[in-house]
Amino acid sequence: MTGLTIIWWLVPAALLLGLGFLFGFIWAAKAGQYDDLETPAVRILFDESRIETKEKKNGIHDKV
């Protein structure tokens, strides 16, 4: 039994870790990171991305 006591610590720790990632996912979904999965992958290839980002910061977001 003594060999298994570590499990009493590991199980809650694993659950907490999972919970942390779950909240990370919920935050990302709410921030709209999953709204468009195709375009950002293309956008990163463009040279002028820095200007674009700056422009967008001043502009609007699809924040709900």
Binding site: A14, L15, F25, I26, E55, K56, V64
Partner: protein, 747 residues
């Protein structure tokens, strides 16, 4: 209509192209006029509702003509190109939607001009920003539900593995209670959409397809909970949470692909021109005016373009006593023409047509997929069977054993396989079609395209290119004469003149119009003018051939010498060319056993000739838009124009070809993204494949359910075995679907 930007009065207000004739008012073409009027319309809305300091308004456009990934870069440069108007531009590649943050003082027309200059066709998407953000929020919530269900079911699996491996004592209790604790939010949070759907179904007195799924999930949950309390160790928390996750995930996937269909293009205000014309008022039409009311010609006559109603390629003669409909464009008029308005506003024919199109579109959303109907019937059968079995066991006094068997029955026949595979079939088909150049807005098009018996095609713009082209591109006239001819045709709005202008530029490069003297456009006959040619003045005339066949237009170009003799320089023949792939596609459709018909608003002789050329046996012409709709209902309609919109929205399956007008694009369930009509074949092929897959899935499920139901009622199956078999059957159907749809690659 003065304009705030730097357009001069001789430029088209929308695209800035030079206007060639004084008769042309503000626009070079109808496209520009449409977009400009839409833009103006929405601009007014904006300026009404916002002050100068307010944040940018988001306008969304469906962009036609996206070719590659560089288009994203190009379109998002909009904020750098039009800094005064645009605060931000974000393009969504998967939906082809550009979101533009428009500054309050920005002019939408300038933005549209820029997008058009780059070679894209923007369609303004209607709809309130609020409705859209609500939808976006719902989508995000759905995704979170899926994610939570996935995380929970994954963790429950981890807890369950030691249980299966036979862990005992305190750890066993810990894992059992933890899996229970994780299953509760999976059921109550992620699974809440099942509760909602079943509740809504019961309220509207329809049989909700989710009812048996919910029943199976609830039964599994309560059975496991009771067994947890009693310590009998029969827990299915892992199966039920995995089931919730898989169902939600497949539905979310389909919903996301479907979001195209909620696009509502802004288009309908255009024809309902706002004007203060009263019924009975007598007016004189102005050249290139777009009539905004229905009227009767009382005196004189008009050559008018009413292609929005007829689809006819050439201007029509509207004589005394005939009706000119709202939306018609005046090309030429006789002097002293008088028309009397007889219906205005909502009573015009086009307004009624728009209303009917809208009604038909609303009605369509209720159509049910055939596959859903099969599933429902199967589910009804199972429910009745379970009820009868329970009654039997109660009357024979075996209620405890009976309850156990009925439980097994409900779990084993849970329609998760169908519920999972059906959305998958549609989603995968939509993806495959998108790759092959067909955008499907409504999955019903995939369900039914192979089931219709007749496919009706529109003529102008669908089977044909939709514009006049010179039949023989090799004509020989001197550079100077070409110059003279060019100067004349740029002054005329007649389609033949437009086509000739294009042909001349194509052959001689950039030509500059010269000054014309004594320019005259004779309605229905031709043009004449005196132009400087070879350093002296010469008279030229462009005349419609007197001996012309009724189905094509032929014009002759003459030069009149000083002595008064007319010398023929050249003869031009124009026709609306049949698309290159039309004939092959029609032949293929006949080969597949479909009937093919041609519905045209054009003259019968023209329709017959085109039909003959592409090999269609069944011709109906001339038809009004309403008559077209009558033919097309319960069949498949392929069209492109305004006059097809009603037929498209009433047809069982509707398809709009690439480059179609907004009304057609909006009314159709599927849109071609590539020129030509071969996409119709693509859709039909995918449809019959999807249909076969659906049938195969349904057959699997039925056999599996019948065997499972028999075994469980006879008591050979306990709930545990059923719970293990359930995911196996689901994954069988799932894999069969994926393999079947992936396998096929037609050359």
């Amino acid at each position: 209509m003065q304009h705030p930007t730097s357009f001069s009065l001789t430029d088209c207000l929308h695209c800035g192209r030079k206007l060639s004739r004084s008769g042309q008012k503000q626009f070079c073409c109808r496209g520009c006029e449409t977009v400009y009027s839409l833009a103006k319309h929405s601009m007014n809305k904006i300026s009404d509702s916002t002050s100068t300091e307010s944040p940018p308004t988001v306008k969304r456009f469906y962009i036609e003509g996206i070719r590659c990934q560089s288009c994203v870069w190009q379109l998002e440069r909009l904020s750098l190109e039009c800094t005064k108007e645009v605060a931000s531009a974000t393009f969504n590649l998967s939906q082809s939607v550009l979101s533009v943050g428009l500054r309050p003082q920005g002019d939408l027309a300038v933005v549209l001009k820029q997008i058009r200059d780059w070679g894209y066709i923007p369609h303004l998407i209607e709809g309130e920003e609020e409705a859209r953000s609500t939808k976006l929020k719902t989508e995000r919530t759905q995704l979170i539900e899926v994610g939570v269900a996935g995380a929970l079911s994954g963790n429950i699996m981890l807890m369950t593995i030691p249980l299966y491996m036979g862990v005992s004592g305190g750890l066993r209790t810990l894992f059992e209670w933890l899996s229970f604790g994780l299953a509760v939010p999976a059921l109550l949070y992620s699974g809440r959409s099942f509760f909602k759907k079943v509740y809504a179904g019961i309220r509207s007195r329809t049989f909700p397809i989710d009812a048996p799924i919910l029943a199976a999930i609830l039964v599994a949950f309560f059975y496991s909970s009771v067994s947890l309390l009693l310590g009998t160790h029969e827990l299915y928390f892992d199966s039920l949470s995995a089931l919730i996750f898989l169902l939600l995930a497949s539905r979310y996937y389909l919903d996301r692909l479907r979001s195209h269909s909620e696009m509502s293009l802004g288009l309908l205000e255009f024809f309902q021109a706002k004007n203060d014309v009263k019924v009975g008022q007598v007016l004189s039409p102005v050249l290139s005016e777009r009539i905004g009311y229905d009227a009767i010609v009382r005196q004189g006559g008009i050559y008018a373009d009413s292609s929005h109603l007829t689809g006819e390629s050439l201007p029509m003669w509207i004589g005394v006593g005939s009706t000119i409909y709202s939306g018609t464009e005046v090309i030429e008029t006789l002097p002293d023409t008088k028309i009397e308005a007889h219906s205005v506003g909502e009573n015009t024919r086009i307004a009624k047509l728009i209303k009917e199109v809208k009604l038909a579109q609303d009605a369509r959303t209720t159509t049910e997929l055939a596959s859903d109907q099969w599933a429902k019937n199967l589910l009804k059968f199972i429910s009745v069977l379970a009820g009868l079995a329970m009654l039997y066991f109660i009357f024979t006094g075996q209620s405890t054993e009976g309850a156990k068997r009925v439980l097994a029955l409900l779990i084993v026949t849970c329609p998760c396989a169908l519920a999972l595979a059906t959305p998958l079939v549609f989603a995968m088909s939509m993806k495959a079609l998108l790759r092959d150049g067909v955008l499907v807005k409504d999955p019903a098009a995939i369900d039914g395209a192979s089931q219709v018996s007749t496919i009706f095609f529109d003529k102008t713009g669908t089977l044909t290119e939709g514009k006049l082209a010179l039949r023989d591109k090799e004509f020989s006239i001197s550079q100077e004469e070409a110059q003279a001819l060019y100067s004349m045709v740029t002054r005329s709005r007649h389609p033949v003149s437009r086509a000739l202008e294009g042909a001349l530029i194509h052959k001689y490069g950039n030509l500059v119009p010269r000054n014309l003297e004594k320019f005259k456009e004779i309605p229905g006959l031709g043009l004449e003018a005196t132009v400087e040619c070879e350093n002296s003045l010469a008279s030229f005339s462009l005349v419609r051939s007197s001996s012309q066949a009724s189905d094509e237009s032929e014009v002759q170009f003459y030069r009149t010498t000083v002595t008064g003799d007319r010398a023929l320089i050249a003869t031009f023949q124009f026709l609306d060319q049949v698309r290159r792939d039309s004939k092959a596609v029609i032949q293929a459709l006949y080969d597949h056993g479909y009937q093919v018909g041609l519905l045209s608003g054009d003259r019968l002789s023209v329709a017959r000739k085109i039909a003959q050329e592409v090999g269609i046996l069944n011709v109906h012409a001339p038809l009004t838009p309403e008559e077209k709709a009558e033919y097309a209902s319960s069949q498949m309609m392929v069209g492109d124009g305004w006059n097809d919109a009603l037929a498209l929205s009433k047809a069982k399956i509707s398809f709009a070809v690439q480059g179609g007008m907004d009304a057609a694009v909006q009314s159709a369930q599927a849109i071609a993204l590539r020129p030509g009509i071969s996409s119709v074949l693509t859709l039909i092929r995918q449809s019959s494949l999807a249909r076969k897959t659906l049938k195969q899935n349904f057959f699997f499920s039925t056999v599996y359910n019948l065997v499972g139901a028999t075994l469980s009622l006879l008591g050979f199956m306990n709930p545990l075995v059923a719970a293990i078999l359930m995911p196996i059957s689901a994954s069988t159907v799932f894999l069969a679907t994926v393999i079947r749809l992936k396998k096929r690659r037609d050359p």
